[in-house]
Amino acid sequence: MAVWRSRTDALMHPLLARSRLGVYAVAWIPLSFFLGYLLHAGAHLPWLAAAALAFPLCLVYQFMCLSAWYSCKSAPLEKTNAGRLALTHATAAALVSLLWLQLGKLLVAGLSRFAAFSDLSVRYTTAIPLLFAAGFLLYLLAVAYYYVILSLEASREAQTRVMESTVLARDAELKALKAQVNPHFLFNSLNSISALTSIDPAKAREMCILLAEFLRTTLGLGEKSSIPLGEELQLLERFLAIEKVRFGTRLEMREDIQEDTKFALIPPLLLQPLVENAVTHGIANLLDGGVVSLTTRSTGSRLTVIIENTCDVDATRARHGGLGIANVRRRLEARYGNETDMRVTADAGIFRVQLSFPLEIASVAVAETIHEEAAR
């Protein structure tokens, strides 16, 4: 929308397009006085004759100078060499100025009928060089003015473009973050299924279904801008159920979900990468496995989610600045700005990520669907 508007504006005359003709006309009034003064002082016209010529001539000339816009558009400063630029505008200025002088002649012919201006046509002839020079310079002044406008517009357009591309890039980045499924997870799950097919075909099928559901939900959620926490929790449960098949007794999970937080709206797939981290960087590095725990609380106007996992006491240092955690932080900050509170700690073999951000509640209709799904 914004792009479309700025393009049409650029084609149209800036003064005509934005109804600024009034301001433009006012700006010409001092010029009319100046021209009158020039005719009086330079060409020795009496004050009255000078005024009678200067005002109508300026009135006409301001419209004639509007045409400079088009020659400026056709010869952009940055794309035209100086010689051609000078030639184009000098020719145009001379032609417009000459035409103006002809119109002046007509005016003088009209005015000469009045007794007060009987000798005007003679005096006008002596004023012609002065008027030509004035017309020439005024036209060039208009040219300069339009070039300033053009460059201002170009820089503004460039700014909008930069802004738009930043916004688009961030959108794309967020989309990519949301849609990512760790290939490692996928291949490991397939490997488990492959082994299960001969040991326990029923379990293999169950795992196929879990994986399919997980993938389908992941793909579907990427499109949305926010989902109820309850939906994300279902996804996490599926994810952990799949990982449980892989890790067996090494993976234990605990949930402490405050019932009403299930209706809180969160960006989709916000928690999934954190839970995945907890498994792949926490549990997977422990010989005897450990616990992943998930806690949610709503306190007044804020939602707090805590994801904890047992981790290798010695290996925690490298985990602080993980890419997954940085991405979650970026997503939260893009959405909640200063309202984001994210704390990552690793202490005594427990890795803990605590998120807190403004609580938004899903509408009643959405809440009911979650209830129904939970009941099923």
Binding site: A195, I199, G248, A284, L287, A315, A318
Partner: protein
């Protein structure tokens, strides 16, 4: 199988039970291969290798505590090693560069047979395996430094987190890793180890010494040209002139806390 051939002893190392099962099942078609042990982690694997002396090892790359590469570094065996991995672009590249057999999980029957045939011919020819540390270095993602050092003393395996190292001292073909008042000998040159350490934390202060910057409490002049670094536990290490320049550069970059 002809009776003249000895059975081929193999061990399967993977932290996932299902993954071990998958390899066992693929091997069941090969009566000449005898599975000596299944190991759920690297430490068990190191023990099993010493105990059973297998000719063939199926080795998972991603395992807790000791990775497949760490295991390889510790076992010092001429066994044929077939790595198994689900998805690890760096590990895969490392295998390709060093022409090691590897299998991607889930493992297909055909690909498995090829790898097994390769391994058998390697065992027959007794061709040497690539150096484990080269493999491990090639498999490390760019910009990532060593996180732990593994040292074997007899059958005992010690894992030292890099942050807990105080300093490293070159001793001929070995490097002594000093951590918490103890020294552990590792068969590696100090230069190759230096390349794996984060240069923001570890400085080569002398031809024979690399120090953990966090441990340095002060530097005192010693003799005419050289200096001496004093660590928090009181250890005194020589600092060469070049070493002192490197040390100062690093200390200048760091904000004093």
């Amino acid at each position: 199988m002809t009776a003249t051939k000895n059975p081929l002893g193999a061990i399967i190392v993977d932290d996932e039970q299902l993954a071990r099962h998958a390899v066992r099942e693929l091997l069941s078609a090969h009566s000449e291969v005898q599975i000596l042990a299944e190991c759920a982690n690297g430490i068990e694997a190191v023990k099993a290798v010493t105990e059973h002396k297998p000719a063939l090892i199926f080795l998972d790359v991603q395992m807790p505590k000791l990775s497949g590469f760490d295991v390889l570094e510790l076992i010092n065996t001429d066994a044929a090693v077939i790595f198994t991995t689900a998805f690890d672009q760096y590990a895969m590249r490392a295998f390709e560069v060093h022409a090691v057999d590897y299998l991607l999980k889930p493992i297909g029957r055909e690909r498995f047979e090829t790898a097994l045939a390769h391994a058998k011919s390697r065992i027959d020819k007794k061709s040497p395996a690539p150096r484990a540390e080269d493999l491990a270095a090639a498999a490390r993602p760019p910009q990532q430094f060593l996180e732990r050092a593994v040292v074997k003393d007899g059958t005992r395996v010690t894992i030292i987190p890099i942050a807990k190292l105080d300093y490293l001292e070159a001793q001929d073909d070995y490097v002594a890793l000093a951590s918490a008042g103890k020294k552990h000998l590792k068969q590696q040159t100090i230069a190759s180890l230096e390349a794996c350490l984060d240069p923001q934390c570890f400085v080569r202060i002398h031809r024979s010494y690399i120090v953990n910057l966090e441990r340095v409490t002060r530097i005192e002049p010693y003799g005419k040209d050289s200096k001496i670094a004093i660590l928090s536990d009181g250890t005194r290490l020589p600092v060469s002139r070049n070493g002192y320049v490197r040390l100062q550069e690093l200390l200048d970059q760091r904000p004093r806390s």
